[in-house]
């Protein structure tokens, strides 16, 4: 690894072989070959530490949280709430009470639309999103707008897939009630200027909701430095389990917005004629939560912190630069998404070969990539393509994975020549 010889922030650069050894799944062959896993943007693999933490919780600690007076319930509650604290620390949130557990980013964004959105958006109002949003940051707002008679307004991007900040600013009107943007585009890899967008929102009193699904695994996220109002992410994109994620929201918003789902744990008292809701974040967590997931997510965040987020970011920046250089040199291959600031994602198309065919041929080489519209159909339409092939990087990828991808693409070219 050339990358291993570099130094990052005073620490030795990431040792890919050592990292890989911590991920049990990476040692299994796929289709008789070494697994080249380039689909982390869809779902990251989990290190042993996460798998063990979930197993230990199940074997030694499980009972329902916030309910029992018995020993295990106390232990489980402590573990569950400790995971909340880890999330707050991971996002540099001022308080763990601003962290709401959700099923993932999708539920977090639906929560925002159904609480913040319902509080603020009325007939004739507007919700502003970017042109590169994942469906999960379009559809909840679209549903809200349809219900309220409001309008979804879209801020455009340029041909490289970079958001046009001045165009976004021009679209903020007195009717704009919420701005919702991806921190990193899942289809293009573009890193959006979230701090600048948050500043624009703040100056006008418009809350900014950030879809952080693709950002948290790739770089340090500091919600206070970003200045946004809500930040959503998924556990399984940051080496944790599926079915768990979080929505961070500023305390002043969480106090104001109404609850969403009703049930146990989100109330203080229930009588036939009056219900008193719990405080945030519990007000937004109805029913028995995903404890396994929360504990696994806490372990994942500890693991990432142990590796060092600056090191991860530097390692992935190197991979992205190397991958971009290698793929750019291949005739008939075109990278989709060439914004100046990118993270983690290399989307591409090939002349005369559909991405789905690329995916099948690479799969036979043990190389896992994603093909399709990546739940971002407006992005595909913007670039006039039905789909892309997308290689995405994680902490366990090395330059050898990029080399395998390039060799695979050459096989595709040979077959379709």
């Amino acid at each position: 690894m050339r990358a291993a010889e570099q130094m990052t922030a005073g620490r030795p650069a990431l040792d890919v072989d050592r990292v890989r050894a911590e991920f049990p799944i990476l040692s299994r062959p796929v289709r008789g070959k070494r697994l080249v896993f380039l689909d982390t943007a869809a779902s990251a693999q989990a290190p042993r530490a996460v798998i063990d933490a979930v197993r230990r919780y199940r074997e030694e600690q499980h009972a329902n949280v916030h309910r029992g007076v018995h020993y295990l319930s106390e232990v489980a509650t402590a573990e569950y709430e400790a995971a909340r604290v880890k999330i707050a620390r991971f996002l540099n949130a001022p308080s763990a009470h601003e962290v709401i557990f959700t099923h993932g980013t999708t539920e977090a964004l639906n929560l925002a639309a159904n609480t913040l959105g319902k509080l603020l958006v009325g007939p004739g109002d507007e919700v502003l999103v970017s042109a590169m949003e994942h469906h999960s940051n379009i559809v909840p707002w679209h549903m809200l707008c349809a219900e309220k008679g409001a309008k979804l307004v879209v801020a455009p991007m340029d041909d490289r897939g970079a958001l046009l900040l001045d165009e976004l600013e021009r679209r903020i009107s007195p009717r704009t009630k919420v701005i919702a943007v991806a921190h990193v585009s899942n289809a293009l890899g573009t890193v959006n200027p979230v701090a600048e967008i948050a500043a624009l929102g703040r100056a006008r009193g418009v809350p900014v909701v950030v879809d952080g699904a693709q950002a948290v695994a790739h770089a340090a996220v500091d919600v206070q430095a970003l200045g946004c109002d809500f930040y959503a992410f998924s556990g399984h994109k940051v080496y944790g389990p599926t079915g768990i994620g979080a929505l961070w929201g500023r305390a002043e918003w969480l106090d104001r917005i109404p609850p969403w789902q009703g049930g146990g744990d989100m109330i203080l008292s229930v009588a036939w004629d009056q219900i008193v809701y719990n405080k945030p974040p519990f007000k937004f967590e109805a029913g028995t939560p995903n404890m396994d997931g929360a504990i696994g997510l806490g372990a994942a965040l500890d693991w990432v912190a142990g590796v060092g987020r600056e090191r991860v970011a530097a390692h992935e920046a190197d991979l992205l630069a190397y991958g971009t250089e290698r793929l750019s040199s291949l005739p008939g291959v075109r990278i989709v998404g060439t914004a100046p600031r990118k993270a983690g994602v290399l989307s591409f198309v090939m002349d005369d070969v559909h991405p789905h065919d690329i995916g099948t041929i690479l799969d036979r080489e043990g190389i896992a990539i994603r093909t399709g519209h990546h739940c971002a159909q407006p992005v595909m339409k913007r670039f006039g393509i039905p789909a892309t092939a997308r290689a995405s990087f994680g902490v366990y990828n090395g330059r050898d994975d990029v080399d395998a991808l390039v060799a695979g693409i050459e096989k595709v070219r040979a077959l379709f020549a």
């Binding site: 289709r31 008789g32 005369d352 070969v353 559909h354 991405p355 789905h356 065919d357 099948t360 041929i361 036979r364 093909t371 399709g372 519209h373 595909m380 039905p386 789909a387 077959l415 379709f416």
Partner: protein
């Protein structure tokens, strides 16, 4: 190497029809049409048919975008059903469906002709929808439905 499997899928006839699909145009005097979508991979075809009063498919064409498998399957289908009665085309749908979902041993190769090149598809579960998109679209056109989605 598992290249044998890949060669089963991407046979020369498939690559040829994928690259140069036959009957790839709009049929101006079509009296049946349907749109086929596979939202997962973005495949999108429009199928046009001219069926005469005797129930025979006089002409058929398609347009749109898709992967090599879906284009080749659509192209081969247009050749296979042109000139055939609607009832026979429907029977062929059943055979191709069995071929790509269950495998070649479920179908008499004599019934398939050139369509037998689709026999490798059943080894690739993620590609069955690609191979069957045009056929589902044909079925809906013949049954008078306008849009079909294979997802």
């Amino acid at each position: 190497m598992t290249h044998g499997d890949l060669d089963d899928l991407y046979q020369q006839v498939i690559l040829d029809h994928g690259k140069n699909p036959r009957n790839f145009r709009v049929l101006e005097d079509a009296n049946r049409a349907a749109e086929g979508l596979n939202p997962l991979c973005g495949d999108h075809f429009n199928l046009f048919l001219k069926v005469d009063d005797g129930g025979v498919i006089r002409d058929i064409s398609f347009q749109g975008q898709g992967c090599a498998i879906s284009r080749a399957s659509a192209s081969l289908m247009t050749q296979a059903v042109k000139g055939k009665p609607v009832a026979e085309a429907a029977q062929l749908f059943d055979k191709v469906h069995a071929l790509v979902t269950e495998g070649p041993e479920k179908v008499d190769p004599a019934d398939l002709g050139k369509l037998a090149v689709l026999s490798g598809v059943c080894q690739f579960p993620t590609r069955v929808k690609c191979a069957s998109l045009a056929w589902h679209t044909l079925k809906s056109a013949l049954e008078g439905r306008a849009t079909v989605s294979t997802e």
